[in-house]
């Protein structure tokens, strides 16, 4: 196993210890249950934003904690959703009285655990809501699946909602914004190699020298289709067109109804991209692909967007939502409006995203 680790079962904890000693100015780490939180939390009167998910996607989410982004992040075991007690303790720690938004990626494990946390937080009097991110167009329908997975748009939602909370948006406004970001973002990814879950010690799947997995998630799981590896331009085109040409997608999600005190089903529909849309283009490494290759992909993506009349007005290129050391990439396009652009540009100061301050 080609990893800089000690015992596999200590992977998450030791990595968190490293973060804590490296960034005491930005974050603190709580152990048992594990969560990372802003060193200046709780921020009185500010909506608190908490995310979380399995570990192995670093820098997401733990390195996005800080001014202008997350108030706390709950890391689970590798590729395993965190548990409700982590989420509950994080909420108690960072709630500044203005309520808490859980940003949740749409995986059965994450959804169930965050729902349990929401129920628990409600019983101790914290105003908590959760909003799902489900942006992976590789998952075709929502009727016969768990629905689309939450991938790249999560990073963008965390930045944009974090900025909004920092600017004083109230809980309802932050929630509405988060839902809007999700409905306007779409992603797809591919893998050139598998990754190895430390506790397992061997690659999750094996790919031939000239094979790739198209339409993967972020947990080292196989994708929609295995195929011959292609040129960067062809791979970029497959991802980009799947995203751009994706048609209307509708799904039913569960949101907490505060008045009724129970979960209600809400139907959400997002609209396809259109000519003259302004977008943020996010080219992401799955962890093992270096940034030089991401720029080759970005180059082709820019060309395709231009041909399609889609205007890239912001971008993000780098490893931000990864699958351990997997080689491969994903593309996310997020349709932006003026408000989202302002919030994207707003200052952010976290271990991994930082600008304007």
């Amino acid at each position: 196993m080609k990893k800089l680790i000690n015992k596999p079962e200590d992977f998450v904890r030791e990595s968190l210890v490293g973060m804590a000693v490296a960034h005491p100015d930005l974050i603190k780490v709580h152990f048992d249950p594990n969560f990372v939180y802003r060193s200046d939390a709780p921020m009185q009167g500010k909506v608190a934003i908490i995310s979380g998910g399995g570990s192995g996607h670093e820098p997401m989410h733990t390195s996005f904690v800080g001014m202008g982004m997350l108030d706390a992040a709950c890391p689970g075991e590798v590729f395993t959703s965190p548990t409700p007690d982590q989420m509950l303790e994080a909420a108690k720690t960072v709630d500044g009285g203005a309520g808490v938004l859980y940003i949740v990626k749409n995986y059965s494990g994450d959804v169930m655990n965050f729902e349990m946390a929401t129920e628990l937080a409600r019983t101790v009097g914290i105003r908590v809501f959760n909003i799902l991110i489900d942006d992976d167009v590789a998952v075709k329908d929502s009727l016969y699946t768990q629905g689309r997975r939450g991938v790249g748009t999560t990073v963008l939602a965390e930045k944009i909602c974090g900025a909004a909370a920092e600017r004083g948006y109230d809980l309802q406004q932050v929630m509405d914004l988060c839902r809007r970001v999700n409905l306007n973002g779409r992603s797809m990814g591919l893998a050139l190699t598998s990754c190895t879950v430390p506790a397992k010690g061997t690659p999750t799947f094996t790919l031939g020298d000239n094979e790739m997995e198209m339409g993967i998630g972020i947990h080292g799981e196989p994708g929609r289709e295995r195929m011959a590896q292609k040129s960067a331009d062809e791979m970029t085109e497959m991802l980009a067109l799947s995203i751009i040409e994706d048609s209307t997608y509708s799904r039913t999600v569960r949101e907490w109804d505060e008045d009724g005190g129970e979960w209600v089903d809400v139907e959400l529909i997002d609209q396809p991209f259109q000519r003259s849309d302004r977008v943020l283009a996010f080219v992401n490494s799955m962890g093992g692909t270096p940034i030089s290759e991401l720029y080759i992909v970005y180059r082709k993506l820019a060309e395709i967007c231009q041909k399609q009349g889609i205007q890239i007005v912001r971008n993000l290129v780098g490893p931000y939502i990864t699958s351990l050391e997997m080689q491969g990439c994903s593309i996310t396009l997020l349709k932006l409006d003026d408000e989202m652009i302002r919030l994207w540009d707003a200052p952010v100061k976290t271990p991994s995203l930082r600008w304007g301050i």
């Binding site: 590798v78 959703s81 699946t145 947990h219 799981e221 196989p222």
Partner: protein, 209 residues
């Protein structure tokens, strides 16, 4: 009558079986999931084992609820809340009891299944734990209704569970991570269904011994 000791032995036997099948379950999960199911279940039940002595003098309901809480806060993923809810509901169904009648056993199993279905929204045929738990519970009820005793009923339930587990192989997954694979999920046995079969198998083995 199923005694409290037997319940504790069952949990121990299940933990042992999970440890032995950790790699197997994880392997199944790498085919159609993310290669952690065996790791998750083993981690959870190791923690359960470490807590068991502190609650062994409580009633069966409390023991099962402790199992539930331990799983919920140590497993994570999909299986954490699902097995957590299973044991929570099972424990609630037999609250305060020191031993269980055949009827209590039926209630316990039914409540656990209901909990899983409610939490995960999976139907029979979705290629999940439900495909093992549901036929098992149905067969247990049926056998009791036919006048058989709990052990015989459980034998039939485990046979149905094993069949249910194998039946997940040709299924197209509709819930959980495997559903993202679409057609590619066909031809693989569901890891969660497999761990549920092991749970029932270890219950039977405990009661038989």
């Amino acid at each position: 009558m199923v005694t409290k000791d037997q319940i504790v032995q069952w949990l121990q036997a299940f933990a042992t079986l999970l440890e032995q099948n950790k790699d197997y379950l994880t392997e199944l999960d790498s085919e159609i999931g993310d290669a952690d199911h065996g790791i998750n279940m083993d981690r959870g039940f190791k923690k359960v084992m470490s807590q068991l002595s502190s609650v062994a003098d409580k009633d069966i309901g409390s023991i099962l609820k402790t199992v539930s809480m331990t799983l919920i806060s140590n497993v994570g993923g999909a299986s954490g809340p699902l097995y957590g809810t299973l044991f929570l509901r099972a424990g609630t169904a037999v609250a305060d009891k020191q031993e269980l009648t055949d009827e209590d056993m039926a209630k316990l199993l039914q409540a656990g299944l209901d909990g899983v279905k409610e939490r995960g929204k999976a139907q029979l045929g979705d290629k999940t734990m439900v495909d093992v738990l549901s036929p098992a519970v149905t067969n247990f009820h049926q056998a009791l209704n036919e006048g058989k005793n709990a052990i015989t009923a459980l034998q039939q339930a485990v046979t149905a569970a094993e069949q249910g587990m194998k039946d997940t192989i040709p299924m197209l997954a509709r819930k959980g991570r495997a559903s993202y694979l679409g057609e590619r999920s066909v031809g693989h046995q569901d890891p969660g269904a497999t761990s549920s079969y092991l749970m029932l198998k270890s219950l039977l083995a405990t009661l038989e011994s």
